[in-house]
Homo-oligomer: 211 residues x 2
């Protein structure tokens, strides 16, 4: 059984991967990129550290155009983040029944409503997995620390390849730093996984009586 | 690091346990009981199968009184389920910083609002973990099946020790089958884990470079 994971190279999508590992025969880590910045290479390298195959998918140019249009008109990032996230999830749903991401309980965006999730699952005959959807930020940090070394950087340093990092980069390229300062919060950070500290693996199958 | 898990002996709280296993040094599985029915013994036996210590806690008599009062006045189970669930979680929060349960994305009750969760976490200085909070029913069934054999029974057979099973039992005892038929849905089922099929364990700690 295979699942694909929307993967930035940060601690959240990496912890998502670790949580799912024991339950799926194959995980493929997918990083979406807008095609300009090189942050997806960080994600590819972290995927290698975690021990899973990685793929980069470049969004169609129209997706970036639309996302920038939403950013500029709304003046805040949430709607644009929700838009690119839903395009990414629906793109993956064409390939794989199980599509996971690292969105957290406390995240404001990207965030799909319960109704939208159920509708997407029914429409595309897929299952959308948010293994961090019931966990708070402190719990996630502690659980991730058990297996991962990670560092925190300002998002403007492009530490990993999440949608916010990518949109900031594209916005600067086309519209300059002033628009980024207007639309995105200051001091937003993203983590970057440095290495995996240990592995969990199945060591025995007890066919009869467990314990 | 220790976490306690609200545990019924069904597949949801068992999968919750399996998801957390690699991340906590110690898990203790806790079953709350209203003191009359013996369904908690099923949970204790399943906990043994899973390989974790188990504890039964009997609710204070006033909790059952209050829950039955809510059931009878509301004429539907959700508010009573939310009430006993919050008493259980807050009781565990006195003992342990990390309190987990097997409530699912698609569950209607028990279900705490986001605001109530954050308020409880701040007030009691604890972390509330819902590892199934971002997973749909089909995904949960498939993931649980990787490690667990489980069977499904009508809740009126008291297959495991969840709050609905316990409240149905107490309601029959005090107010008769007619009130159960009025208040609870017909054909509600609960799963009971039969055995654990396999174990996942850490096999190596790679101190330096992983992969």
């Amino acid at each position: 059984m295979k699942a694909v994971v929307l993967f930035s190279g940060g601690k959240d999508s990496a912890l998502t991967t670790l949580l799912l590992e024991p339950f799926f025969d194959q995980l493929e880590l997918i990083t979406f990129s807008f095609g300009q910045d090189q942050a997806w290479k960080v994600a590819a390298s972290v995927a290698g550290q975690l021990g899973h195959p990685h793929k980069r998918i470049v969004f169609d140019k129209s997706v970036l155009d639309e996302a920038l249009k939403i950013l500029l008109s709304m003046g805040r990032p949430n709607d644009a983040l929700n838009y690119v996230h839903s395009v990414a999830v629906e793109t993956l749903a064409q390939e794989c029944e199980f599509v996971a991401d690292g969105t957290r309980r406390d995240d404001m965006a990207p965030k799909m409503s319960y109704e939208d999730i159920r509708s997407m699952e029914d429409r595309l005959r897929m299952q959308y997995l948010r293994p961090l959807g019931g966990l708070g930020g402190k719990t996630i940090r502690i659980m991730a620390s058990e297996y991962l070394e990670f560092e925190e950087y300002l998002s403007e340093k492009y530490p990993a390849s999440d949608f916010e990092v990518g949109l900031r980069y594209a916005l600067i390229e086309r519209h300059g730093q002033k628009e980024v300062d207007r639309i995105f919060p200051k001091n937003h950070t993203h983590t970057k996984v440095v290495r995996r500290k240990r592995f969990v693996q199945e060591i025995e199958r007890k066919k009869d009586q467990a314990c």
